[in-house]
């Protein structure tokens, strides 16, 4: 409440204001900066290792000490990285797209239709989902040994076998999330369309799908990330160098020669991250909504 302009008082006021600013806003920035530092330092380390011309773990510091693209050229010349990248991108892309579509079909039925066995169906989905597919890896291995004998085209070392497996795992995982989102759409929408003579297929494709596009994008992205990172099944499935995915191929890269291959590995990590990080930043707004919408509705 001071109106005087004496220097000490003004100083005291400025300090007070600064304290109040810090108590209300400033500390929030401090938390934010610390959190960003925690998030970024391993990534900075990877960047530094990828640029490090020596390319070994022991010579890598947190801050880049040199800059060369040697690791990147080595990555493509000495390994089948390009091939793995393409395999992963295609497999994860096609599998997540197709599985999202199947889940959307099921979620539509569970959300909009009432039929005998609906409750049982939903509960068993929840139950089956709790048995992770790779717990059954031994059984899957034995089943696909037989499949490889009969139909080598979809057997080991082919993307098709993995594709089928990822599709099998998808329904339980995504249907619940999507059903929650479908439930939030007003029923009057499709009821009035029905009155206008639309078929159930028209309602699904013309009305529901466009409205749930954000959640489809988000679940699709999560499924994509999941497939890119899937290691156990792919590792049992893919043994030929050219059929490997990124997770299997890059694990092999550092399984033996840890120290020496670290630069190449870091370069591969950065390249692997590019597609996901880009899509992630694009869809960020929807991701927040999508994740919580599914959560609130259970």
């Amino acid at each position: 409440m001071s109106t005087r302009t004496e220097a000490p008082v003004a100083n005291r006021n400025a300090t007070g204001r600064r304290n109040r600013w810090f108590a209300q806003v400033g500390w929030r920035h401090l938390v934010g900066i610390l959190a960003v530092a925690f998030s970024l330092f391993p990534i900075l380390f990877v960047v530094s290792a990828a640029l490090n011309p020596l390319g070994t773990l022991s010579s890598t510091e947190l801050v880049p000490t040199g800059a060369s693209l040697e690791n990147f050229t080595n990555l493509f010349e000495r390994t089948a990285f390009g091939r793995w990248f393409l395999n992963s991108l295609l497999l994860a892309g096609v599998a997540s797209f197709a599985s999202i579509f199947l889940s959307a079909l099921a979620a539509y039925a569970f959300s909009r239709m009432r039929f005998a066995g609906r409750r049982v169906g939903l509960l068993s989905l929840l139950l089956i989902q709790m048995f992770p597919q790779f717990l059954a890896i031994v059984a899957i291995f034995l089943i696909f040994t037989k499949v490889t004998e009969l139909w080598p085209v979809i057997g080991f070392n082919t993307p098709w076998g993995l594709f089928l497996l990822y599709m099998g795992a998808a329904l339980g995982a995504n249907t619940w999330l999507m059903k929650g989102f479908f439930d939030t759409l007003p029923k009057e929408l499709d009821e009035s369309a029905t009155m206008d003579g639309a078929s159930h297929a028209q309602i699904f494709f013309r009305i529901m799908l466009p409205l749930v596009a954000p959640i489809l994008a988000v679940t699709g992205l999560l499924a994509f990330i999941g497939s890119i990172n899937e290691f156990v099944i792919a590792n049992v499935f893919l043994t030929n160098t050219n059929s490997k995915t990124l997770a299997v191929g890059m694990f092999g890269l550092v399984a033996g020669e840890r120290n020496n291959n670290f630069g190449i590995f870091a370069a591969g990590t950065l390249l692997t991250a590019i597609p996901t990080v880009l899509v992630f930043q694009l869809l960020q707004r929807y991701i927040v909504n999508g994740l919580t919408a599914g959560a609130v509705k259970g």
């Binding site: 947190l62 139950l127 992770p132 597919q133 249907t175 990080v277 930043q281």
Partner: protein, 546 residues
């Protein structure tokens, strides 16, 4: 799940619709069942069903060739079912559910059932095939060269690709000069016209077989040494790459006593159908056994056999701690940061958010491996940066701390994202009202924000717990389960049940599929119970909220 108690079909429509429908009460159902047939719809249907028929025909031929009639019947029934389903206007919900369900059944449910049935057997290394297979393996495995063994000139060949094809032995009988081909099934004479034999009896070409040159044969020398071709008098084995001998089986099966007898030492091993092995009077068991049903023994072993139950229970406790820790710490940190950034006076939250969620978007398998290297004792970043000399993965507790720290880094951006979203859904008026009533920010957080937040987040926390309970990658890529105690190389300090199971099934110690399957069933039961209890509790909370 929907809490609506309304019945099927038209009954779900609000009462306000009454007048519109009163003319023909079943309008909506009829519209759904006799939807106008559009050209696109018809076209898509024809193309897709044609595809189904094509795939079915393609899949049928190998089944017929292998004479798998049950498989063929399943294939036919499925295809017929699909045609019926999509050509009739009825069963609309099934039309939407069946595509996913087919995949679910084939690639999720059947493997699970298969796993469950494996849990009741002794399936594993040494117990793979039938009793007859085991007898053949024991007999041919004991073949040794005896004085007077016949020597054959040997040529090693393959069917198909020299590097991966199945090996066969081409041998010429020194007395009769007939050429025979031998594989693990036995020895069969070859037509003299289809082979070229060099002087000395070595085969240089044979129709349908790829003769291996010296280099190709050397790279597969281990397979060649292990190869045994059963013959009437014993078995054929290689000595070097160009000669083979017909040895005598020292151990032979005697059907009369259902036992294996060693002709040199006279020792006998009697078949024990309960464990699927040949056991001697002194308790010695032959390595080669067969697959039998062992009932609940695997389950009982997990709970009572001290060599298995000890590691199982200590792993279980750490498994719970790991899943709770991974979920709890990430949630606390993520929520803390979300709360800090959630203020109307805050500028630049978008900037923070873009950078904060980067760990979530990075490929986790690669970052787990990077973290492992950052914890490296000698030249890892963590030790270098802080001037430490900690042997992170050498001590039980430092390894566990390291694993949790890695999980925290990987997981908190997700928690931050979902808490941010949930916070935005909580009306500001609520917290403003509490501050008008004189509550401190902390009081209003505890009484208003936190409960509302938990209602929204708790299903995700349960899902995160269930996910982390079986987070194979997190352990396998960072510590591989280690450090291991000196007396037990199968269960390490940071092992989760899932990595422990994986080692039982695929580890270097020899595969124990039956036991691994039993542990899988236990894991499933634990996760399902925990999730079921917490879901029913949050459901109650949710009903209060809505």
């Amino acid at each position: 799940m929907s809490t609506s108690s309304s019945g099927p079909g038209t009954a779900t429509q609000p009462p306000g619709r009454g007048p519109v429908r009163s003319g023909s009460p079943r309008t909506s159902r009829t519209a759904r069942n006799h939807a106008p047939i559009t050209l696109t719809g018809l076209l898509v249907k024809v193309v897709l069903l044609g595809l189904v028929a094509g795939i079915a025909v393609w899949a049928a031929f190998p089944l017929i060739e292998a004479e798998l009639w049950v498989g063929l019947a399943v294939l036919l029934a499925t295809t017929a079912g699909l045609f019926y389903l999509y050509l009739t206007p009825r069963h609309i919900p099934v039309k939407y559910l069946i595509p996913g369900t087919l995949f679910l059944v084939a690639f999720q449910i059947i493997p699970v059932l298969y796993t469950a049935s494996t849990a009741f057997t002794n399936f594993g290394d040494g117990h793979r095939g039938s009793k007859d297979d085991a007898i053949v393996a024991i007999q041919s495995g004991s073949v040794t060269q005896v004085p007077g063994s016949v020597q054959y000139p040997l040529t090693v060949a393959t069917k198909g690709d020299p590097a991966t094809g199945a090996l066969v032995f081409l041998v010429t009988d020194p007395q009769t000069n007939t050429v025979s081909v031998g594989d693990t099934e036995g020895l069969r004479p070859l037509d003299a016209g289809s082979v070229t034999v060099a002087p000395g009896g070595k085969v240089t070409a044979a129709d349908g077989y790829q003769i291996l040159n010296f280099g190709e044969a050397s790279t597969r020398s281990k397979d060649i040494t292990d190869m045994v071709v059963p013959t009437s008098g014993g078995a054929l084995r290689s000595s070097g790459l160009s000669r083979a001998y017909e040895g005598k089986a020292v151990r032979a099966y005697d059907a009369g006593c259902d036992c294996i007898r060693d002709s040199e030492t006279g020792k006998t091993w009697t078949a024990d159908g309960k464990v699927g092995s040949f056991v001697a009077a002194d308790g010695e068991t032959l390595a080669q056994g067969w697959q039998v049903n062992v009932g609940l023994r695997n389950f009982a072993d997990v709970l009572t056999d001290p060599a298995i139950s000890g590691p199982f229970f200590s792993t279980l406790i750490w498994n719970f701690a790991f899943a709770l820790g991974s979920t709890g710490f990430t949630f606390l940190l993520g929520m803390g940061i979300a709360l800090a950034l959630h203020s109307p006076r805050m500028r630049g939250t978008n900037f923070y958010r873009v950078l904060l969620i980067l760990p979530y978007a990075m490929p986790s398998f690669a970052m787990l491996l990077v973290w492992r290297d950052m914890f490296n004792t000698d030249f890892g970043l963590i030790n270098n940066l802080f001037g430490l000399g900690v042997d992170w993965f050498g001590e039980t507790w430092s390894a566990r701390l390291a694993v949790l720290l890695v999980q925290l880094w990987l997981g908190y951006p997700y928690m931050f994202l979902v808490t941010t979203g949930a916070l935005q859904a909580i009306p500001r008026e609520l917290t403003e009202a509490t501050s008008v009533d004189g509550a401190s920010p902390f009081q209003s957080f505890r009484a208003v924000t936190m409960p509302l937040l938990l209602v929204a987040i708790s299903p995700l926390l349960i899902a995160s717990f269930a996910y982390n309970f079986n987070n194979f990658n997190a352990i396998q890529f960072v510590t591989e389960g280690g450090p291991f105690p000196a007396d037990n190389p199968t269960a390490g300090a940071t092992d989760l049940l899932i990595t422990y199971t994986y080692r039982l099934a695929f580890g270097a110690q020899g595969a124990e599929y039956g036991l691994a399957a039993a542990v899988s069933i236990f894991i499933f039961a634990i996760v399902a119970t925990v999730s079921a209890i917490s879901f029913s509790r949050t459901r109650k909370q949710e009903e209060v909220y809505s």
